[in-house]
Symmetry: none
DNA sequence: ACGACGGTCACCCAAAAGAGTTACGGGCCC
DNA sequence: GGGCCCGTAACTCTTTTGGGTGACCGTCGT
């Protein structure tokens, strides 16, 4: 009987997650909880094979819940859910023993792939090197050039100035800019800079 | 009654800090806060002799919290906590009036020594010249409106979109934008967003 | 009562940005 | 050898931005 426990304080997110997880092949039961306390209570009576849990929750936070759950049951498999702003929390949760994490913007396919993998392989863990705060979650991978251009933007330089600085034509800078916008999902340079900060790509 | 206030958004780090600080000779009480807002709220009712605060926090950033705390109470003694990557943030916080900083991987002995020193000598400051890299004096004060506009920019919205969102004309948004650029010393919106992140004005 | 400041809006104008498209050479991986 | 990605560059065209300026109305403090 393969069962998964989904925990999120938002009823909407919880329900969406429940439905998504229920479509994963092999999953026979999905239970839900609204907070860390409920997860721990439920765990006493009924252990699931996998727990999906939001990092940020009222009351017992996600990290603290991971700690307690693992001290009660060292074999528990936990995947954290997170939003971009929460990189520190994810790092702590993984340090505390969570197996991996999913960005809340992850596609349904991504979620299903991760859950499938975690269920199939009880030893599965996210490769630790991917947990550097800079490329956590669905962190887009920018090339060195793109990061240089993004940094130029974050210092208030125009495309022409960035070009002079990097010995490139302005047109080339604009090409890099367009590509990095696309990768980051940014609508303009201000947005790109903000996302760069949020992803830890620039400082 | 010597008391210390510890502020970190991560419960794990907060608790570890609390325990470490509690072992410092002379410290009789350690209170905790999870974010900048809580520090400010708590400060109204109950002033501690020393504040240890993370630079990076959700909500009010560490730098902005330092500014507000000191404008409420110029005598407040604040030590910033940081990870290695955050040197600019530390420099800004110290420029804003924090007395010094501690690396998060500082040994417990180092932490205790620094806390002891800060408590013993109310005038203690980290040698300021060591932190000049990003120094630019006083932190800019943006109005609520200006911060709203800056936030809009950080989410990739155009001036017209920000206007619709805030029920303002585009021209008014542009006026706010021009003014906040001036205050921040920004050359364009991307630069303004970057400075907003560096000052802890937005996230 | 006066001035400073903040919020609102408008107009003009030049510069910059961004989207779309094409193109070519160099690595790198199957 | 054929993709695929990266870096480079150019072209056109539309939209947006940013600077300058002026103006009116509140509020707050002196």
């Amino acid at each position: 009987m393969t069962s998964v426990l989904v925990c999120d304080d938002s009823p909407l997110a919880r329900e969406a997650l429940r439905r998504a997880v229920a479509t994963v092949p092999g999953v026979e039961r999905v239970t839900t909880a609204a907070n860390g306390e409920e997860v721990l209570r439920r765990w006493g009576a009924d252990r699931s094979d996998l727990v999906l849990m939001d990092v940020r929750m009222p009351g017992l936070g996600g990290v603290e819940t991971v700690r307690r759950l693992l001290s009660a049951d060292p074999g528990a498999r936990i995947i954290m859910l997170t939003v971009a702003e929460d990189l520190d929390g994810v790092a702590l949760a993984v340090a505390a023993g969570a197996r991996g994490y999913l960005h809340k913007d992850a596609s349904r396919a991504e979620l299903r792939a991760t859950v499938t993998q975690a269920l199939a392989d009880p030893t599965w863990r996210l490769a630790p090197r991917r947990l550097r705060s800079a490329d956590m979650g669905a962190a887009p991978t920018l090339t060195a050039r793109e990061i240089q251009v993004l940094e130029g933007m974050s210092h208030g330089r125009s495309n022409a100035e960035i070009g002079r600085e990097l010995f490139l034509s302005e047109d080339t800078v604009k090409t890099h800019a367009r590509r990095l916008f696309k990768k980051l999902g940014a609508s303009d340079r201000a947005h790109a800079v903000a996302l760069g900060f949020r992803w830890g790509l620039v400082r």
